[in-house]
Protein backbone atom coordinates (compact mmCIF):
# COMPACT_ATOMS: atom_id res chain seq x y z
CA UNK A 1 0.00 0.00 0.00
CA UNK A 2 1.69 3.19 -1.15
CA UNK A 3 1.04 6.86 -0.51
CA UNK A 4 0.84 7.27 -4.28
CA UNK A 5 -2.52 5.54 -4.21
CA UNK A 6 -4.06 8.39 -2.24
CA UNK A 7 -2.74 11.00 -4.61
CA UNK A 8 -3.87 9.01 -7.66
CA UNK A 9 -7.34 8.85 -6.14
CA UNK A 10 -7.15 12.57 -5.39
CA UNK A 11 -6.18 13.29 -9.02
CA UNK A 12 -9.18 11.32 -10.29
CA UNK A 13 -11.33 13.11 -7.73
CA UNK A 14 -10.21 16.56 -8.81
CA UNK A 15 -10.74 15.64 -12.47
CA UNK A 16 -14.24 14.32 -11.80
CA UNK A 17 -15.11 17.34 -9.64
CA UNK A 18 -14.05 19.76 -12.37
CA UNK A 19 -15.87 17.85 -15.11
CA UNK A 20 -18.90 17.59 -12.83
CA UNK A 21 -19.07 21.35 -12.34
CA UNK A 22 -18.40 21.97 -16.05
CA UNK A 23 -21.22 19.70 -17.17
CA UNK A 24 -23.66 21.02 -14.55
CA UNK A 25 -22.97 24.63 -15.54
CA UNK A 26 -23.53 23.76 -19.22
CA UNK A 27 -26.88 22.22 -18.40
CA UNK A 28 -25.96 18.51 -18.76
CA UNK A 29 -26.81 17.13 -15.36
CA UNK A 30 -27.19 13.58 -16.67
CA UNK A 31 -23.70 13.52 -18.14
CA UNK A 32 -22.39 15.00 -14.90
CA UNK A 33 -23.98 12.15 -12.97
CA UNK A 34 -22.52 9.62 -15.39
CA UNK A 35 -19.09 11.19 -15.05
CA UNK A 36 -19.28 11.01 -11.28
CA UNK A 37 -20.44 7.41 -11.48
CA UNK A 38 -17.61 6.48 -13.82
CA UNK A 39 -15.07 8.19 -11.59
CA UNK A 40 -16.47 6.42 -8.54
CA UNK A 41 -16.19 3.03 -10.23
CA UNK A 42 -12.62 3.67 -11.35
CA UNK A 43 -11.55 4.78 -7.88
CA UNK A 44 -13.36 1.93 -6.13
CA UNK A 45 -11.55 -0.54 -8.36
CA UNK A 46 -8.28 1.10 -7.32
CA UNK A 47 -8.83 1.03 -3.57
CA UNK A 48 -10.87 -2.13 -3.02
CA UNK A 49 -7.77 -4.30 -3.17
CA UNK A 50 -5.87 -2.04 -0.77
CA UNK A 51 -8.73 -2.05 1.74
CA UNK A 52 -8.79 -5.84 1.50
CA UNK A 53 -5.04 -5.97 2.22
CA UNK A 54 -5.59 -3.71 5.21
CA UNK A 55 -8.21 -6.01 6.71
CA UNK A 56 -6.04 -9.07 6.00
CA UNK A 57 -3.20 -7.40 7.92
CA UNK A 58 -5.51 -6.57 10.83
CA UNK A 59 -6.80 -10.16 10.93
CA UNK A 60 -3.32 -11.64 10.92
CA UNK A 61 -1.98 -9.14 13.46
CA UNK A 62 -4.76 -9.51 16.04
CA UNK A 63 -5.23 -13.22 15.59
CA UNK A 64 -8.68 -13.53 14.04
Amino acid sequence: MDVDLIFKVAAVGILVAVLNQLLIRSGREEQALMTTLAGLIVVMMMIIEQVNRMFELIKSTFGF
Binding site: L5, A10, G13, I47, M54, L57, T61
Partner: protein, 119 residues
Protein backbone atom coordinates in the same frame (compact mmCIF):
# COMPACT_ATOMS: atom_id res chain seq x y z
CA UNK B 1 1.25 15.74 7.40
CA UNK B 2 -0.38 13.29 5.02
CA UNK B 3 -3.72 13.70 6.78
CA UNK B 4 -3.55 17.49 6.55
CA UNK B 5 -2.77 17.25 2.85
CA UNK B 6 -5.64 14.84 2.28
CA UNK B 7 -8.07 17.04 4.24
CA UNK B 8 -7.13 20.01 2.09
CA UNK B 9 -7.68 17.98 -1.09
CA UNK B 10 -11.01 16.75 0.24
CA UNK B 11 -12.19 20.30 0.96
CA UNK B 12 -11.30 21.32 -2.59
CA UNK B 13 -13.07 18.36 -4.17
CA UNK B 14 -16.07 18.57 -1.84
CA UNK B 15 -17.36 21.57 -3.77
CA UNK B 16 -17.36 19.71 -7.07
CA UNK B 17 -18.26 16.19 -6.08
CA UNK B 18 -19.10 14.96 -2.58
CA UNK B 19 -18.91 11.33 -3.71
CA UNK B 20 -15.31 11.63 -4.78
CA UNK B 21 -14.26 13.35 -1.56
CA UNK B 22 -15.89 10.50 0.36
CA UNK B 23 -13.92 7.92 -1.60
CA UNK B 24 -10.66 9.79 -1.01
CA UNK B 25 -11.48 9.80 2.71
CA UNK B 26 -11.86 6.01 2.62
CA UNK B 27 -8.60 5.58 0.71
CA UNK B 28 -6.67 7.81 3.09
CA UNK B 29 -8.16 6.19 6.20
CA UNK B 30 -7.30 2.74 4.88
CA UNK B 31 -3.72 3.74 4.19
CA UNK B 32 -3.23 5.32 7.62
CA UNK B 33 -4.67 2.26 9.39
CA UNK B 34 -2.59 -0.09 7.23
CA UNK B 35 0.57 1.87 8.01
CA UNK B 36 -0.22 2.00 11.75
CA UNK B 37 -1.08 -1.68 12.10
CA UNK B 38 1.99 -2.73 10.12
CA UNK B 39 4.06 -0.87 12.72
CA UNK B 40 2.05 -2.46 15.53
CA UNK B 41 3.27 -5.88 14.37
CA UNK B 42 6.72 -5.14 15.88
CA UNK B 43 5.10 -4.05 19.15
CA UNK B 44 3.08 -7.25 19.31
CA UNK B 45 6.29 -9.21 18.71
CA UNK B 46 7.80 -7.59 21.80
CA UNK B 47 4.64 -8.39 23.78
CA UNK B 48 4.88 -12.03 22.68
CA UNK B 49 8.46 -12.13 23.95
CA UNK B 50 7.44 -10.67 27.31
CA UNK B 51 4.59 -13.16 27.55
CA UNK B 52 6.84 -16.14 26.89
CA UNK B 53 9.44 -14.90 29.38
CA UNK B 54 6.92 -14.14 32.11
CA UNK B 55 5.20 -17.51 31.70
CA UNK B 56 1.70 -16.03 31.47
CA UNK B 57 -0.84 -18.39 29.88
CA UNK B 58 -1.27 -17.39 26.23
CA UNK B 59 -4.97 -18.27 26.29
CA UNK B 60 -5.58 -15.44 28.73
CA UNK B 61 -4.10 -12.76 26.49
CA UNK B 62 -5.44 -13.76 23.08
CA UNK B 63 -8.93 -12.39 23.82
CA UNK B 64 -7.43 -9.09 24.95
CA UNK B 65 -5.50 -8.69 21.69
CA UNK B 66 -8.60 -9.63 19.70
CA UNK B 67 -10.67 -7.02 21.50
CA UNK B 68 -7.99 -4.45 20.69
CA UNK B 69 -8.30 -5.31 17.01
CA UNK B 70 -12.08 -5.16 17.13
CA UNK B 71 -11.99 -1.75 18.79
CA UNK B 72 -9.57 -0.38 16.17
CA UNK B 73 -11.76 -1.54 13.29
CA UNK B 74 -14.97 -0.49 14.99
CA UNK B 75 -13.73 2.97 15.90
CA UNK B 76 -12.26 3.62 12.46
CA UNK B 77 -15.38 2.48 10.62
CA UNK B 78 -17.73 4.37 12.92
CA UNK B 79 -15.81 7.63 12.62
CA UNK B 80 -15.62 7.19 8.85
CA UNK B 81 -19.39 6.70 8.61
CA UNK B 82 -19.99 9.69 10.89
CA UNK B 83 -17.60 11.75 8.75
CA UNK B 84 -19.51 10.75 5.62
CA UNK B 85 -22.77 11.82 7.23
CA UNK B 86 -24.33 8.50 8.22
CA UNK B 87 -24.80 8.52 12.00
CA UNK B 88 -27.09 5.48 12.09
CA UNK B 89 -24.39 3.34 10.44
CA UNK B 90 -21.83 4.59 12.94
CA UNK B 91 -24.10 3.68 15.83
CA UNK B 92 -24.71 0.20 14.43
CA UNK B 93 -21.01 -0.41 13.91
CA UNK B 94 -20.20 0.62 17.48
CA UNK B 95 -22.97 -1.64 18.84
CA UNK B 96 -21.67 -4.57 16.78
CA UNK B 97 -18.12 -3.92 17.96
CA UNK B 98 -19.25 -4.05 21.59
CA UNK B 99 -21.12 -7.31 21.01
CA UNK B 100 -18.14 -8.89 19.24
CA UNK B 101 -15.84 -7.77 22.03
CA UNK B 102 -18.04 -9.41 24.65
CA UNK B 103 -18.15 -12.60 22.58
CA UNK B 104 -14.36 -12.56 22.23
CA UNK B 105 -13.96 -12.10 25.99
CA UNK B 106 -16.29 -14.97 26.93
CA UNK B 107 -13.47 -17.61 27.17
CA UNK B 108 -11.69 -15.34 29.61
CA UNK B 109 -14.81 -14.93 31.71
CA UNK B 110 -15.28 -18.69 31.83
CA UNK B 111 -11.69 -19.15 33.03
CA UNK B 112 -12.16 -16.56 35.76
CA UNK B 113 -15.35 -18.26 36.94
CA UNK B 114 -13.54 -21.62 36.97
CA UNK B 115 -10.75 -20.16 39.09
CA UNK B 116 -13.27 -18.62 41.50
CA UNK B 117 -15.18 -21.89 41.64
CA UNK B 118 -12.06 -23.87 42.42
CA UNK B 119 -11.19 -21.70 45.42
Amino acid sequence: MLCITVVLIINVINEGSRVMSAVITVAAASYVIYFTVSKAVFMLGRIETIISVSGINHDLLDPVIKVAGISICGRMSAELCRDLGSRWAAGNIELLAVILSVVSMSPLIEKVLDIIGSI
